[in-house]
């Protein structure tokens, strides 16, 4: 049996082609994986953003509830012991007359 010797150039070309194909495939797979990964990250960040927006809304609403006039009035009167000033206790300064409007 005679062993046919393959030309080195052809081997090199074939190897190069295979390497290129493998590299391309590897790059493609890596690229796809990266895209999916970024997609997941984007999705997570979107969720986080939506969550934070909801949190902000909730906090704004909590703030509104905490600043409700009925609550502020109660704390001022009952906890801080404040009372409404009598007319003679009032100081009038830097004012506009009653018949002018903002």
């Amino acid at each position: 049996m005679v062993r046919k010797k393959l030309p080195k150039k052809e081997i090199a070309a074939a190897a190069g082609c295979i390497l290129l194909a493998v590299a391309t495939l590897t790059f493609y797979v890596w690229h796809q994986a990266a895209v999916i990964q970024i997609g997941f990250q984007t999705s997570r960040l979107e969720e986080r953003r939506a969550g934070l927006e909801e949190e902000i809304k909730k906090l704004e609403t909590d703030k509104a509830a905490l600043l409700a006039p009925v609550r502020v009035d109660r704390i001022a009167r009952e906890e801080l012991g404040l009372v409404e000033p009598q007319p003679e206790q009032l100081i009038y300064e830097d004012t506009r007359p009653a018949n002018s409007h903002e």
Binding site: E60, T61, D62, A64, A68, P69, D73, I91, T95, A98
Partner: protein, 588 residues
């Protein structure tokens, strides 16, 4: 051999024919079955497959936020968890009920709720609510149990951070988030947005494996009201105090900015908390300011006085003899609250003499009085952008009887709403021009009120008549007449009191012990910053007159609101606007 060969060949042919026959028969049956499934029952089966594998769910958009004029949040939708049951094919009703029983304590499910869920399970429903809009703590505990077919999903829940403040204006929403009353109902289409649609894909066991949005939901638009949170609070607090003190059945206060028609506060007592909508009774949910008709009594003398001056039939200094303290009209005797002697026209209104006003009314005449009442828009809704507004009861001229001139002159035989009477007073405050009320603004107003006048409106009475009535009559009511309890130190107040006896419909007589006490006015009288009507129904004890019961409420609210609006007293030139400030220790 040949015979044998033929016989064998014949058997083969025969078997082939039989086999072919059965094969074609089988094929024929299969074809028929396919035709039945694919053609005849196509629609039904397609539907069955879709219902098994696909589920369309509405996506409820986030409802718009409602703000007061300065941007304070009055109503907002926040996410809330909903616990639901999506049964699989292999779930037996008994197993599902066992799971529901495990949720009973966590979700505080009542016996009625359990029964409802059980009936829906037995009906084979594919999506069953266990608890809608639960707390996040409850949702976490349910999720922790990891029960099969039990899911926690997200919905939106309406939240009113200020509790019962402005409850009757805001109204409320149903469990599905639809507006049921108040601005929530009036502006429901704008607030609710547009529902979206999602498609849930399920496997043969009805397990969800994917979903997609078929139609994106469009969030609702925000709404800015003309209400001022602080003024609303002041009004509600003082009204609630007065209703409690006088043991009134109900009370209402409406405060407006006359020049713009903007409603700054609209309060009804008793109130309810819209976070627990619906209120415990329909009565509690009624916005008395626009949904309650009542005979206004002497407050209506505003219209009689306007008609008298506008038609020129009476001069301000003309004398009316009211010394008898009573007058007979078509067999009925109408009394004054006391004998008032001889009065000028101005004094008749200032002292709220029924006798004098009836004499004025008789001089005006039926048609002219009727026309003026019509011009003041009684018997018609004010057009305020709130649902359920009453029109009042104003009988057409052909239904008037011999007592009608007298009765209408002093505010009987006609029913009005508090908003209508405030609108009438605003015509005087606006120098004869009617500015329609409004409850919403196009934008926030962080600095204060919009510039005053001019805003175009319908002229109802002349500027001269309105100005003269203000300075010569309605300021006198508060300065020297029945409305003295409405005086606010440093400010000129114009107003009119009202005390109307209530009609006992079964007996057809007016009762001496049941009244509607009221006061309507504006301040400062020359260029009003605010106008207000106060109505208390059936105040108990000895104080029953509008001047004793409602006028003090006007004073207390007016004083505080003027302070809040930083309005300087006019009548004490040495004083300016009231301010209070804290100084730091470093400051001298």
């Amino acid at each position: 051999m040949n015979d044998l060969g033929l016989s064998f060949q014949g058997r083969i042919n025969k078997r082939t024919i039989i086999l072919a026959f059965f094969f074609f028969l089988w094929f024929f049956i299969i074809t028929l079955r396919l035709i039945q499934l694919q053609v005849i029952e196509h629609r039904r089966l397609r539907q069955a497959v879709i219902s098994q594998s696909q589920l369309e769910r509405s996506i409820i958009p986030e409802r718009g936020t409602i703000y007061d004029r300065h941007g304070q949040i009055l109503a907002r939708s926040l996410p809330a968890p909903t616990v639901c049951l999506i049964p699989h094919d292999d779930d037996r009703p008994g197993d599902l009920m066992d799971r529901v029983e495990r949720l009973r304590e966590i979700l505080n499910l009542s016996e009625r709720e359990i029964q409802k869920i059980e009936s829906r399970i037995n009906d084979g429903e594919t999506y069953i609510y266990v608890k809608r809009k639960a707390s996040w703590d409850q949702a976490d505990r349910v999720a922790g149990l990891n029960l099969k077919s039990v899911y926690v999903q997200q919905e939106n829940r309406r939240f009113y951070p200020l509790g019962s403040l402005a409850a009757h204006v805001l109204g409320g929403v149903s469990i599905d988030g639809d507006g049921q009353s108040g601005v929530e109902l009036q502006y429901n289409t704008r607030l609710e947005g547009v529902k979206g649609l999602s498609l849930i894909l399920r496997d043969a066991n009805r397990r969800r494996y994917d979903w997609e949005i078929l139609k994106e939901p469009k969030p609702g638009q925000d709404l800015v009201l003309t209400l001022d949170e602080t003024i609303q609070y002041i009004a509600e607090r003082e009204l609630e105090k007065a209703v409690r003190e006088h043991e009134a059945s109900w009370g209402t206060v409406i405060i407006s900015h006359p020049a713009s028609g903007e409603i700054l506060a609209m309060a009804t007592s008793p109130a309810y908390d819209p976070n627990d909508y619906p209120p415990s009774s329909d009565e509690l949910g009624r916005n008395r300011g626009i949904q309650e008709n009542f005979e206004p009594g002497s407050m209506f003398k505003i219209v009689t006085a306007a008609a008298a001056r506008e038609t020129g039939v009476v001069g301000f200094n003309e004398i009316f003899d009211c010394s008898e303290g009573k007058i007979r009209v078509a067999g009925w005797t109408i009394n004054d609250h006391k004998k008032l002697g001889v009065l000028t026209f101005s004094e008749v209104i200032i002292q709220s003499s029924n006798v004098g006003t009836i004499k004025v009314g008789q001089r005006i005449g039926q048609e002219r009085l009727y026309r003026t009442i019509q011009d003041f828009r009684f018997g018609r809704k004010t057009g305020l952008d709130l649902p359920g507004e009453e029109s009042g009861i104003f009988h057409p001229l052909n239904k008037w009887s011999r007592t009608s001139i007298a009765a209408h002159s002093i505010g009987y035989e006609i029913s009005v709403t508090a908003a209508q009477i405030l609108q009438a007073m605003n015509i005087v405050a606006n120098r004869g021009v009617l500015i329609p009320f409004r409850m919403t603004r196009s934008s926030l107003n962080p600095k204060g009120f919009s510039p005053e006048i001019p805003i175009a409106g319908d002229r109802i009475i002349s500027e001269k008549t309105a100005a003269e009535l203000t300075s010569r009559v309605f300021e006198g009511v508060v300065a020297d007449g029945t409305g003295q309890a409405a005086q606010i130190e440093g400010f000129s107040v114009a107003g009119k009191t009202g005390t109307a006896r209530k009609l006992d419909r079964s007996l057809g007589v007016y009762q001496a012990s049941r009244h509607v006490a009221s006061f309507v006015g504006f301040v400062p009288a020359d260029r009003p910053v605010l106008s207000m009507v106060v109505v208390l129904d059936e105040p108990k004890f000895s104080l029953q007159y509008g001047g004793q019961v409602a006028a003090p409420v006007f004073r207390e609210i007016g004083r505080r609101v003027l302070l809040y609006l930083r309005q300087a007293p006019q009548l004490s030139p040495d004083k300016g606007t009231v301010t209070a400030q804290l100084r730091s220790k470093d400051q001298p």
